[in-house]
Each structure stands twice: as C-alpha cells, then as structure tokens.
C-alpha cells in the first residue's frame, strides 16, 4: 500500500506543484480554500490532467507525462467521495449502490452485495427512497456504500463534512473514523479543518498557494509546523516575524522582546508562533509585563488580547486563551511562555 504523487499544473496565474509519497494509512491534505488541495485530488482521480509529473498507487501508474501514460478515470479504481456526495438523483438508494458494483455477476448476486452493504452501512429500509429524501448523514452513507461495493484500491474524501450541520458532523465523523479503520487501504482526506485532519488522519500534508509546505506524522506537524502557513493551518493564533538574537534566542520586533527558544536558533528562522493557550501567569520563563486590551467571552473559554508593556501601540495584540474554569481573580500583569512552546518557523523550506 503506497502512493507516489509528483505533479505540476499551471492554472492561469495559479501554479500547483505537489509531490508526496505515502506508505499506507490515512493522509490528510490540509489547506485553506484555493490552496490546491481539491485540484490535487482531482489529478489523482483523473478529473484534471497534470501538465507534468507522475502518479502511481500501489505500483500501478495512473499518470506519467514522460511515458505518456494517462489511465482513464474508469480504470483507476479510485473511490472518490465528492463534497456533495454526487448521488444520482433519478435513482433509488438501492440502484445508486448497485451502480457501484463493478464485478460482473448475476442480478441476484448483485442484489446480495447491495443488501449486505446496506445493512453494514445501516441503510436497511431505505431501498426505494430517492437521495433527495435522505438526511445529509444518510446521503453520505449511501455514497460511501456505493464506493465500497466498487472495491477501490484507494479512497479519496473531498471535504467529507462540508455538507453537514455542525451538530451532525461530530457524530458522522466518529462513524467515518470507525469505517476507515476497517477499510485498511490508503485514504486521502481533503479538508480545511485542523480538527477533522487531526481526528481522522495518521499523517498530514499542508498545502498553501499550490505548494506542499510540510508533510509528516500528525503529532509532529502540530508540535512543529515549521512554516508560517502550516502554523496558521494547525490553528496557531500568534505568528510574528522574528530573527535570531543569540544561540538559543529570538528577537520579536513587533513585540519588542527577546525570547528564549530553548533550542538552537539558526539564521533561517523568519518567524515564531505561540499558541494562544501557551501563556501562563505562573511560568517564570519568558515572562514580561503585559497590558490587557480586550476580553472576549466564549461558551467555555475566554479569549484575552494583550500587548506587552514594551510593545508598540500600532502592532497587533497577542491572543491568549484559557478555559473558563481557571479564570484568575484579577487579570495578570505578567505572562510567561515556556521555551518549548515557541514554534520556530522558516520560510517554506521543508527539511524532512
């Protein structure tokens, strides 16, 4: 189980340039809208044709510009869950799933396969319904059933939850998580949500402006996003320009302070990131006087914006976030950050 993707495609002013290899498991393509993650998926399915490069899955070559190979979509055996699920509106649930049965077999055998899959996907009783009569969660299960009876070599999910209400989303996500665990083949999930990526995927690739910024095991990506764009996508709220100020120190011009990074700092460092929940009153390291600018109340937490005492007025305040349960009596006058919580960021230089 492996996938090798190395593609280039020019789309007007936008340039898609992505290359990655996976060796089994679930890969999340995380990126903002317009970062090229859906286009990458379309190149793998064969909907889009790259200008250059090659794509192979489990050793089967889908596309190779040098050898002039471009396998038709029908022969790629790629299961693709489209954003709107793309169920055929004129067919019943049963017929939709039966469409996916690729194996040549008798009508009875086909009905059997469909019936078993419907049971497994908890769709029993919906046989004669039309897709428009189903809920979003049911539609997704029908689409997945149709893909699974198709016996694909690889499964691609394009924003699988974008069509669902947020309260439904968490339940469906757990179901999908269990289903993917049974699938045991390569899966690629395109998403703009770091929560979805973190919950469902083993590894994560981050795309920005058509480029693959970083790829790696998800915990490593979240612990050390490496580039500013990756830091934003993993949910880091405070990203500021910085430069080396000593063997283990960085100077942050916007905040007008020098921080201890706790690890060797090289000259290539262009910015640092500090997650909003990493500021603490008790922390003695990197502790500086602060002035609170704004307090925003959320259902379960507080977001507090502050500036360092020496920070110029015109700069953007720092985001600090903490659970409501631990709100102090009075707002602190000093806040510290552990050196390990300072993310050192480099300009688009994947080092892995």
């Amino acid at each position: 189980m492996s996938m090798d993707v190395r593609i280039q495609k020019q789309l007007g002013a936008f340039r898609l340039q992505v290359s990655f290899q996976t060796h089994g498991g679930i890969l999340g393509l995380l990126g903002a809208s317009g970062s090229g993650k859906s286009k990458t998926l379309q190149c793998i399915t064969g909907i889009e044709k790259p200008d250059q490069g090659c794509i192979s899955v489990n050793g089967r070559v889908f596309f190779d510009s040098e050898k002039n190979i471009d396998l038709p979509v029908q022969e790629r055996r790629v299961g693709c869950l489209f954003q709107n699920y793309a169920l055929f509106p004129n067919m019943t649930v049963e017929d939709n799933i039966a469409c996916g049965v690729r194996r040549v077999c008798s009508a009875a055998r086909r009905r059997d396969i469909v019936g078993t899959m419907m049971e497994r996907m908890r769709l029993t009783g919906l046989n004669r319904q039309k897709p428009a009569q189903l809920s979003g969660g049911q539609q997704q299960r029908v689409a997945l059933a149709r893909i699974l009876v198709n016996e694909p070599d690889i499964l691609l999910l394009d924003e699988p939850f974008s069509a669902l209400d947020s309260y439904l989303k968490e339940q469906v996500m757990t179901e999908l998580d269990n289903l993917l665990a049974q699938f045991r083949k390569d899966v690629v999930i395109v998403t703009h949500s770091r929560d979805e990526a973190y919950q469902l995927c083993d590894s994560i690739a981050i795309l920005a402006q058509g480029n693959l910024e970083v790829i790696g095991e998800k915990k490593r990506i979240f612990a050390d996003p490496q580039t500013p764009a990756a830091a934003v996508l993993t949910g880091c709220k405070n990203i500021v320009a910085a430069r080396r100020a000593g063997p283990c120190a960085v100077y942050v011009p916007d905040w007008n302070i020098i921080l201890d990074a706790g690890q060797p700092v090289d000259d290539a460092v262009c910015a640092i990131g500090v997650r909003a929940h990493c500021f603490h009153e008790q922390t003695k390291e990197n502790a500086f006087p602060v002035q609170i600018v704004e307090e925003i109340e959320q259902p379960f937490e507080w977001i507090v914006k502050f500036r360092y005492a020496v920070q110029p007025r015109e700069t953007v305040p720092v985001w600090w976030r903490f659970a409501k349960m631990i709100r102090p009596e009075a707002m602190p006058s000093r806040l510290g950050v552990k050196p390990a919580d300072i993310l050192l960021l480099h300009e688009n230089t994947p080092r892995r």
Binding site: T45, G46, I47, Q74, C80, A86
Partner: protein, 222 residues
C-alpha cells in the same frame, strides 16, 4: 372532407421531430462542452433558423436542394428530390424546428451537475451508460419540453414548407398550406374546420407543456 392534409402534417411533423430530437440533443451535448469562441459561433449558426423569417429559410433550402443547383442535381441522380415532395416538407420543418430542440436541450445539459458524471466515471461506468442512465434522466424535463415545442413548430410550419414543396392537393398539402389555399379560394367553411383542428392540436401541445412544467416544479419542491 379530405383529411389528407392532417395525415400529411402529422407525418411530416413526426418524422422531422424524430430527426430534430437526435440531432438537437447531439449538437447540444457537444456544443455545451466546446471552447467558448467556437461555442459562440456555432450557437449563432444553429439558432439562426429560429430568428430568420421562414421564407428566408425556404429560399436558402431552395438554393441548396433546387433542381438547378449542385446538391439538388446530385440528389436527383440518386433518385431523391426534396422540391415539391412531401418528404421535402420533413427537411423544411426539421430545419425550422431544430433551434427549439437544440436550445432547450442545451439549457438542460448546462444545468447538469458535472460531478455526477465524474462520480459515475470513478465507479467505472462508461460514458454511454452515464449519458443514457444519468444525464438524460436528469435533463428529462427540458428535453421533453424541447421535443414538444419542436413538434408543435414542425406541425405549424408554413413559410419554408410552402417555398420548398408548394401546395399540391393529396400530395404536398399540409394543414397550414391548406388553410391558406382554402382562404384564397373563398372556401370559408372548410378553412374554419381546419382552423378548429389546428387549435385542438395546439391546445393538446400546450397542455402537455404546462403539465410537464408543473410536474417539474413539484419534483423540485419535494
């Protein structure tokens, strides 16, 4: 009462409607996926018979199929003559009715959600299967409406038909040319009957269109 014009009109309309059904769908399908510039040019050419006066269409058809013109002469050597024959009426009606089918079908195809086709392809379904089992049912309402309109237009065709096949009783006479002939020869009574026949046919056609539109609305609402 001679009912030949009714039979002849229905025959001409039915055959030209079948021709227009397939050619209209075929052109609509391919034009909808053409590059913009080519699409614009072809669209004008294919819609022209709708905008041009039918007599102009008739004149152009005579220019092509006329017995003193190359194509007409060539066809005549093969034993086919479109001038002054009932099947010439099929050509005239088809040309005039074609844009109605083409435009409605193209509108329907353009509203088709292309991801459905792609999703079918990823499942291994052939383009043929996708066209007949997914695309056509999806666009069914538009295509039926186009067919009904084309049939109605073919049935009522007068200008191009009278230029190409004229009026020969019991041969090329259609309802519309007959009405004109009867009015010219002052046979008010017979003309009136044909007018009633015409109104009856038109009413059926319009009711069908309305029923389809209503069903379409209900389907969208559900």
């Amino acid at each position: 009462m001679d009912w030949y014009p009714l039979w002849n009109s229905l025959r001409i309309a039915a055959i030209s409607c079948i021709l227009v059904f397939f050619s209209g769908i075929c052109m609509a399908y391919y034009v909808a996926r053409m590059p913009r510039a080519l699409k614009g040019i072809l669209d004008v050419v294919l819609t022209l018979p709708l905008v041009l006066p039918p007599t102009v269409c008739g004149w152009i058809l005579l220019l092509i199929f006329g017995l003193r013109h190359p194509v007409g002469m060539f066809l005549q050597t093969a034993g086919i003559q479109f001038v002054m024959t009932w099947y010439g009426g099929v050509i005239a009606s088809a040309v005039v009715a074609f844009p109605l089918m083409y435009r409605t079908a193209r509108g329907a195809f353009e509203s088709f959600d292309e991801t459905l086709a792609w999703s079918g392809r990823t499942l291994g379904l052939s383009d043929m299967y996708i066209f007949w089992r997914i695309r056509m049912p999806y666009c069914k309402q538009g295509i039926i409406a186009g067919t009904v309109l084309a049939f109605a237009r073919a049935l009522g065709e007068y200008g191009a038909t009278s230029m190409l096949i004229g009026y020969i009783p019991k041969n090329t006479a259609t309802i519309s040319t007959t009405v004109y002939q009867l009015w010219r020869t002052n046979d008010e009574y017979s003309a009136f009957i044909w007018v009633l026949v015409n109104i009856a046919i038109s009413a059926v056609v319009l009711l069908t269109v309305n029923m389809l539109e209503k069903r379409n609305r209900e389907r969208r609402a559900s």
